[in-house]
């Protein structure tokens, strides 16, 4: 065997485990979801999905888009939570990590305290917030009553208000992404800050012109994580409202069709799964596009 062939074999063998894992744990489920969205797969044939007739191949899609009563509500909410996640979580993560990077007194303690909620499961957080929002005994209700005496409604059942109540149950818990960003900020060479200082960049200018541009790739990652976690929200919805009062999410209705429904409608659930994957890809593409805009304009300027 010549060197080139040995090298090829060597590379192939090294790549093989990754390829196998990719196919089994990533490609197969996605393709299975896609394929079964064109099948009849419910309680009548749980172990053998049956391809729909060609003239009715899109029956599941037609049902989901035209008949299923909760799809559009769930899509609207999930996109809303993705957008809110980006608009609140990303700036919050950025500000907190910049503040923590200053190494002020007590910042290590503050960092640890800030991270603790991130290790609590979202299901447990859902239960905690259920108590917080309790209309008879919860502290949030007491606060509302300070400003609006006599208010007795359950805010989790008031349309619109409950959307934001669910937002508050997840949007402030960004300890993991803060740590990611903080690590990147700490990796910025001190010489750069010193040079910036000589050039007169201090305080906010220092962060705007040095820190933020240098951690932009991580901000992009944080943005993607914030958007996808908002888009995939499930536990908070399940525990706080169980989908009542217009709060269903895409993940919630997938479970409704696959598990709660007596008819175990796997194919229809997977059809929503396909839509979820497709929209997830669009969201990630939009984020990539937005973050590449400045790079492109910079390239254009250099080109001129």
């Amino acid at each position: 065997m010549n060197i080139k062939a040995r090298r090829t074999l060597f590379i192939t063998l090294f790549l093989l485990p990754t390829c196998i894992c990719f196919l089994v744990f990533y490609a197969y489920p996605i393709l299975q979801i896609l394929a079964t969205s064109f099948c009849q797969w419910d309680y009548t044939n749980m172990t053998s999905p049956k391809l729909l007739p060609m003239n009715d191949l899109f029956a599941n899609y037609k049902y989901i888009f035209r008949e299923y009563p909760y799809f559009w509500e769930a899509l609207r909410n999930s996109l809303g939570w993705a957008l809110v996640g980006v608009c609140i979580q990303v700036p919050l993560t950025l500000v907190v990590s910049i503040v923590l990077s200053k190494g002020l007194k007590g910042s290590r303690f503050a960092r640890n305290v800030y991270i603790i909620p991130s290790v609590i499961s979202s299901a447990a957080m859902g239960l905690i917030f259920l108590q917080l929002y309790n209309a008879r005994y919860g502290p949030i209700q007491q606060i509302i009553q300070m400003f609006k005496p006599g208010y007795t409604e359950n805010i989790l059942l008031v349309p619109g208000v409950n959307f934001w109540a669910i937002v508050c149950a997840y949007v402030f818990f960004c300890g993991t992404t803060t740590i990611m960003l903080l690590g990147q900020i700490h990796a910025i060479p001190a010489e750069l800050y010193e040079a910036a200082k000589i050039d007169g960049a201090k305080g906010l200018k220092r962060e705007l012109y040095i820190t933020i541009p240098l951690v932009k790739p991580t901000i992009k990652t944080v943005t993607t994580l914030a958007a996808t976690s908002g888009f995939l929200l499930y536990n908070e919805v399940f525990f706080l409202t169980n989908g009542a009062a217009g709060t269903k999410s895409i993940s919630y209705i997938i479970r409704e069709l696959a598990i709660t429904s007596t008819r175990t409608q796997y194919a229809r659930a997977n059809t929503i799964g396909v839509v979820q994957i497709f929209i997830g890809l669009i969201l990630v593409s939009i984020i990539n596009f937005v973050f590449s805009l400045e790079k492109r304009s910079h390239r254009n300027e250099v080109g001129r």
Binding site: L23, L34, T36, F38, T44, M46, P49, Y63, N154, G243
Partner: protein
């Protein structure tokens, strides 16, 4: 070139998985979807893999999964149930086929997971939850009707015989019933000047009583009733009062768009709105502490609630729904896999007989404090012979519910969990003041028609 080879491998594998995804694993199992009679019982028994357990010296074993996993401090009844199971296991310890009862936290999930792989556990107690349609549709569970008829167990299995009969087959027998009426705080009702449930002939009477309690208690933190999950029970009972047929069979578009459906929904939604959204929850259990502390005047819970009040000073009394209606259904219970060996099948059926026997059913009433399915028992006489206050209160609640003029099945069981959730959610939404109930009804009707489609 290397890239090309790798791309080819990836593409081939992806296409293969896609084909596999749409493939038909076993053409033979398609019979159910084609609506043909499944005759898998015998064939599957022949194909049965060896279930002999090496740990028991080559003996066969019947594994029974149940949800009584709690310790004594959490729920003493669970320990009593496990003892009942153990007695049966001990009695068959030397047989060719032994019995093992295994407690699991979520029996339905266990069964669902196995169903996804095309199998069913040896034997399961669904504890009132529905038997998954997939199990029945795919012929994975055993029809017990012939055995029940042959052994003369009709009165022992009670309403299981009618309510759990599907196309002449009985796939499940629940040894205790999900029986629901309501519990009311007699002292609070008296203080509020409200009429008591035994005088309610219709839902206007009930609404007037609830208004009286709300007026009396609003400044004291007292409220009329536990709405939400409780509301669907009221709706269920009202539907039964208006048309028992509607509340006992599969949900159809005609039922959804019927006057009875609209009347029942609007009446309960209006009561919920007057009761307030703060007193609403999709889990009736969350009201327990308010009930025992005298804040919730009416607890819309089952007869099993008897045990919650006897240790308190609260004067809770059992009642049934307006118009002499109670809700009672066996739901899913003991369910046996169709593919067992003859020895396992015989033992499983004997276990059903054991669990519905007078002796065990008495224990279920006296020690578990549940409504037994066996209709041969005289619950009042049993309670008289007991010095346990919970048993006496339970007997009172059971006899009221069992002797109601109209006994209706629970909608959860006959209409399905997704429909149940949709109705609860819509009633919950109506509890917010100012909500347009007519508009919510129209929304619900549209949703339900789509859900059953």
């Amino acid at each position: 070139m290397k890239k090309k080879v790798l791309s080819m491998i990836l593409a081939t594998a992806m296409v293969a998985t896609m084909v596999a995804g749409c493939g038909n694993k076993d053409a033979g199992t398609d019979t159910a979807s084609e609506g043909k009679e499944t005759t898998t019982e015998t064939t599957k028994a022949e194909e049965k893999t060896d279930t002999k357990d090496e740990g028991t010296g080559g003996k066969e074993k019947l594994t029974f999964y149940h949800a009584y996993y709690h310790d004594e401090a959490t729920w003493p009844a669970a320990v009593a149930m496990r003892e009942i199971y153990q007695e049966f296991a001990d009695a068959h310890a030397n047989d060719d086929c032994t019995f093992e009862a295994v407690p699991v936290e979520d029996v339905t999930e266990l069964a669902t997971n196995e169903l996804a792989g095309g199998t069913f556990p040896n034997m399961v107690d669904f504890a009132g939850m529905e038997v998954p349609l997939a199990a029945i549709s795919q012929g994975l569970v055993l029809d017990m009707k012939d055995y029940i008829d042959k052994e003369g167990l009709e009165s022992k299995v009670g309403i299981n015989y009618t309510m759990n009969q599907v196309d002449g087959k009985i796939y499940t027998v629940h040894d205790q019933l999900t029986t629901l009426g309501l519990w009311y705080n007699a002292d609070l009702y008296e203080a509020a000047g409200a009429t008591t449930p035994d005088t309610w002939t219709n839902y206007e009477d009930m609404a007037a009583a609830m208004n009286a309690i709300t007026t009396y208690g609003s400044s004291k933190g007292i409220y009329a009733y536990s709405a939400g999950q409780g509301s669907i029970r009221l709706f269920n009972a009202y539907m039964g009062l208006l048309n028992k047929e509607y509340a006992s069979g599969a949900l159809t578009a005609d039922i959804i768009n019927s006057d009875e459906f609209a009347t029942a929904f609007k009446a309960i939604a209006a009561m919920d709105q007057a009761n307030g959204s703060a007193n609403t929850s999709d889990d009736v259990g969350s009201f327990s502490s308010d009930v025992t502390s005298g804040l919730c005047a009416t607890f819309l819970n089952g007869v099993w609630g008897a045990g919650s009040f006897t240790d308190t000073d609260i004067n809770m009394k059992p009642a049934i729904y307006p118009g002499n209606v109670s809700l009672s259904a066996p739901g899913g219970g003991l369910t046996i896999a169709a593919d067992l060996s003859d020895a396992q099948k015989a033992l499983a059926l004997e276990f059903v007989k054991y669990m519905t026997s007078d002796e065990v059913q008495q224990k279920i009433f006296l020690e578990i404090n549940a409504n037994p399915c066996n209709t041969d028992l005289d619950l009042t006489a049993l309670a008289e012979g007991s010095d346990n206050a919970t048993v006496k209160l339970l007997a009172e609640a059971c006899s009221l519910a069992n002797s109601a003029k109209t006994i209706v099945s629970t909608t959860n069981y006959v209409w399905g969990a997704d429909v149940q959730t949709a109705i609860i959610n819509k009633l919950i939404e109506c509890s917010v003041s100012g909500t347009d109930i007519d508009a919510k009804l129209a929304e619900l009707q549209g949703e339900l028609v789509a859900l059953i489609g």
